[in-house]
């Protein structure tokens, strides 16, 4: 149980940042993870009044405030239209609706949890993170920093930025039982013409690889997808824990990647068909 004497409901990011420079204070996201810790801290910093619970969409990007709940993320119409079923698939297994109404995007990303579905999704999509002090950086840079330097540790995550460069995305995870932590998370996306695959719950923190093989350049078939899946599985270290063995995880990386990549091919086909239909219609007119 997290114990503390002070509750700071801050009025500005600057105030939050100043308070967070004190080692004894912690920033609150949804508090679901923090709450499980048995420790006493000086105070907690609540960002609820800073308007960070909004998702903004422009021509170029989605800006997802750190205090957006996972449920609001899952239900956002613009994001659903943009990311299709992958968005829902990456979030729907996270415990339950009441849980996702409380858990935040900021807490999920800042925490860099090994098991995180959310981190896996945004890594494949080549998202960026925006900190109050450190400014913007690729999520891949933040996620791979080990360990976090003091500056980032004491910074405030303002938002996750998703540039609109995603052409297709597919998400899959394996769980031993519904709503449990995942055994493996896997996301494949085509971003700016490049295939990217992220894998989390290895059980180590999610990491990504871009396609360096050209295996998919002449088209995605069951054979090229399987070969690519095998190549991807060789790019990631895996480990064993109570949920699964390192070997099992390796095999599953290949399987999930193959399936994800086949799904990307379907999406691309549908988009081409749509574009062709629009062009034909335009030509007729």
């Amino acid at each position: 149980m997290l114990k503390f004497k002070q509750y700071y409901r801050v009025k500005s990011l600057e105030e939050a940042y100043e308070l967070n420079q004190k080692k004894s204070n912690v920033v609150l996201g949804g508090m679901l993870w923090l709450k499980l810790q048995r420790r006493t801290v000086g105070g907690v910093i609540d960002l609820s009044d800073l308007g960070l619970d909004q998702i903004m969409e422009t021509e170029e990007a989605f800006t997802i405030g750190a205090m957006v709940s996972l449920r609001d993320l899952e239900q956002h119409e613009g994001l659903r239209a943009y990311l299709g079923e992958a968005l829902h698939e990456s979030l729907r297994h996270i415990v339950g609706v009441q849980f996702r109404n409380v858990a935040t995007v900021g807490g999920s990303i800042f925490g860099r949890f090994g098991f995180s579905d959310v981190l896996t999704l945004f890594l494949a999509l080549d998202a960026k993170v925006k900190f109050y002090h450190a400014g913007e950086m690729p999520l891949s840079v933040y996620a791979s920093a080990a360990p976090l330097d003091k500056e980032l540790k004491n910074d405030i995550l303002e938002a996750v930025i998703l540039p609109k460069h995603v052409e297709a995305v597919a998400y899959r995870s394996v769980r031993n039982s519904e709503t449990d932590f995942p055994v493996l998370t896997c996301c494949a996306a085509k971003v700016n013409g490049v295939y990217r695959v992220s894998v989390g719950a290895r059980p180590m923190r999610a990491a990504y690889t871009a396609d360096l093989t050209d295996m998919l350049k002449d088209g995605i078939t069951p054979e090229t997808a399987a070969a690519f899946g095998k190549w991807v599985s060789e790019q990631f270290a895996t480990g064993s824990n109570v949920r699964a063995s390192a070997d099992y995880r390796k095999k599953m990386i290949a399987v999930l990647t193959k399936r994800n990549v086949m799904e990307l091919a379907e999406t691309e086909k549908a988009v081409h068909a749509q574009t062709a239909a629009v062009q034909t219609k335009g030509g007729q007119a």
Binding site: F4, R9, V44, H93
Partner: protein, 156 residues
């Protein structure tokens, strides 16, 4: 610290510690329908509405409901009785400990998606664990409750 909020439509002002959890506050205010289950965010027994959204009170800081509206099953008597009859009819309740949390979430489901399919019901209620029932009776009960509510709307 002082906390002002609305509990089951009644404005309340209470003294809390900075780290009081909503679950503890509500039980201290005699809302005994709010159950203490896992306290790790997994079981859904502690579900209440904050501004009409179902949340886990075991993982919500009481200070965060300042100025907001909290509803527990005590504030939803009529709906709870209606729904409870369908659950009882299906023999879905055994020890009954999970039931208040399940009812809160089933009511939230109805309000959000009255036309829910079986898959949608299962997904919406995935965060409500029950150690006795095996879930099948609950699913039947919820299905009948949604059907009954549809009929009610049709007859209005």
């Amino acid at each position: 610290m002082e906390l002002k909020f609305t509990l089951n439509e009644v404005p309340r002002v209470v003294e809390i510690s900075a780290d009081t959890l909503l679950l503890d506050l509500l039980r201290s205010m005699k809302c005994y329908s709010v159950k203490r289950g896992c306290e790790t965010g997994n079981c859904g027994l502690c579900t209440v509405f904050v501004d009409e959204r179902p949340v886990l009170s075991c993982s919500t800081l009481a200070a965060r409901v300042e100025g907001r509206s909290v509803v527990t099953l005590e504030g939803l008597r009529e709906e709870a009785e209606e729904y409870g009859a369908y659950i009882a009819d299906e023999g879905a309740e055994q020890c009954g400990f999970c039931n208040p949390g399940l009812m809160m979430n089933a009511i939230a489901l109805y309000r959000e998606n009255p036309e829910a399919t079986d898959d949608e019901i299962k997904e919406y209620l995935a965060g409500n664990l029950c150690r006795c029932s095996g879930y099948e009776g609950q699913l039947r009960g919820i299905r009948s409750y949604l059907e009954f509510k549809k009929g009610e709307v049709r007859h209005e």
